[in-house]
Amino acid sequence: MMFRHRFDLPLVEDATGRFLIWIMAVMVYLGIVALAGALVLAGMASRWENGLTGRLTVQISPQPDTPGRGSDPEMVAPLVQRTEVALALLRATPGVLRAEPVTAATTHKLLEPWLGTALLDDLPLPALIDVQVAPGSDPEVPALADRLARSVAGAHLDNHAAWLDDLRRLARTVQLVALAVVVLVGTAALVAVVFAVRTGLAIHSPVVELLHIMGASDRYVARQFQAHVVGLALRGGMVGLALGLATLGLLDRATGEAAAGMLPVMALPPPQWLALPAVPLVAAALAAVTARWTVLRVLAALP
């Protein structure tokens, strides 16, 4: 074809182009991993918080005087009785929607991954009551805890507030770190684009000057660099995306196998997987804007 697409500037022959592809590939890869990490953690924190918000747990120690030591079958009956008393007290408390004992089988299942089955049978386990509070109601937790402690020996009320606070703080911190990584990686990529464009302008300054003299507007020249840089950024971005998706796929598989009871679910939900291809597109768009800005700034010095 006689008039195929071509650049007035011989940019495709530049070595800086090859270097920019790999820079963008690495940057997009790191950006995708950081973004996926932040999304996974946000999802985990959200699931935990949703699961715990409006929930209280009452724990009744099997041996109130020496909790957690030894095993005394004589204490089983009192534990059941104390659990009944606690249940009655809780169900009579305004704002409590539901109070149900956690069965021994469920408690065993929760502890099994950590302690194994053999040891569990020998341990005196506390009785647990799962309490659901009506949405919008706000029972006085300290007062309820005090009443429980006075009425039921060995009873302890936990509203998970401290744990939730820790979780929120952890999630925020990791998200900030991920954001910082994305910003740093993005900044490094844009600096690389500025460097590549400035190098291209320096290498091809005779051609740029010629186009300028012939009446090419700054935008005409900038478009050439912009199109070239977008092409490189997209090629690099696709490599980074492929590597990033492969890495996340491997991690997803590995955590899925290890998560059986030990680890929380760390997989990205499908809609968030679909968001990842946006990373190279955003990177290419930012590269285009940066290339254009750089060229226009440099050309502004020409007469």
Binding site: M2, D8, V207, I213, G215, A216, S217
Partner: protein, 250 residues
């Protein structure tokens, strides 16, 4: 068309390259720019095609004071000029076709129209068989024709040529001057910088002579009028409005 009033030019803090230069090129005029090497011819041409800003004085181009123009207005003015460089300054990675098409692409002309005009002009200058050839594969004379085709493809109002005959023998130099005269007859104002006195003496056009940065206007000599009888025949439609036959002189 173009007017220089008391133009002075120096590079940085160096000596003055041009000093109090005054001249006017009327629309449709033809001038030679002469002077020894280092006299300031190229600097004067650069000022004319807005590749430089004068240190002092006023340049009026197409009726507008260049100093008062916004930078964004300059590309449109530059596109009304064609420039032939001594070293051609072709883009080696582009074909002859794409080199000549550059000014039209910059002006936003449709591709179909570009192709039609460029092919026609290249055929007229005898390069119809080299449309896809890259400049490094062309001879010096062929490159020069590509450079000239590029400078005239958009029918410029002002054509500036810097030593266009510097790299060719006299017969080709003559052909080039005939071509420039044909363009001049169509209304293009022409200024040719050269030191080829033998060639100039055969064409009856005034000279602007530079000597150590100072310009003198020398009127045309009637004695060379006879040299005009061999003017080349018609131009392609892209330049003349209709294809009149002929072509690059044999």
């Amino acid at each position: 068309m173009i007017r220089f009033d008391n133009i002075g030019l120096r590079y940085g803090s160096g000596p003055e390259v041009l000093s109090r230069v005054n001249f006017t090129l009327k629309p449709g005029s033809f001038h030679f720019l002469t002077g020894a090497s280092g006299a300031g011819k190229s600097s004067l041409l650069r000022l004319m095609y807005l590749g430089l800003r004068p240190t002092s004085g006023t340049i009026t181009l197409f009726g507008r004071d260049v100093a008062t123009l916004k930078r964004a207005d300059l590309p449109a003015l530059r596109r009304q000029m064609g420039v032939v460089f001594q070293d051609f300054r072709l883009l080696d990675h582009l074909s002859a076709l794409d080199n000549v098409a550059l000014p039209l692409r910059m002006a936003g002309t449709a591709e179909a129209e570009i192709r039609e005009h460029v092919v026609e002009l290249l055929e007229w200058v005898g390069l119809g068989a080299h449309l896809e050839a890259k400049p490094p594969t062309l001879s010096g004379g062929q490159q020069q024709r590509v450079a000239i085709a590029r400078s005239v493809i958009n029918r410029p109002r002002l054509l500036l040529a810097d030593e266009p005959t510097g790299n060719v023998d006299d017969s080709i130099g003559m052909r080039l001057l005939y071509l420039f005269e044909e363009l001049n007859k169509l209304g293009t104002t022409v200024m040719i910088a050269t030191h080829n006195e033998g060639l100039i003496s055969r064409f009856p056009h005034p000279r602007l002579h530079l000597d150590r940065g100072t310009l003198t206007v020398i009127p045309a000599e009637a004695s060379v009028a006879a040299a005009m009888t061999a003017v080349a025949s018609g131009l392609p439609a892209v330049l003349a409005g209709s294809l009149t036959g002929g072509g690059w002189p044999p």
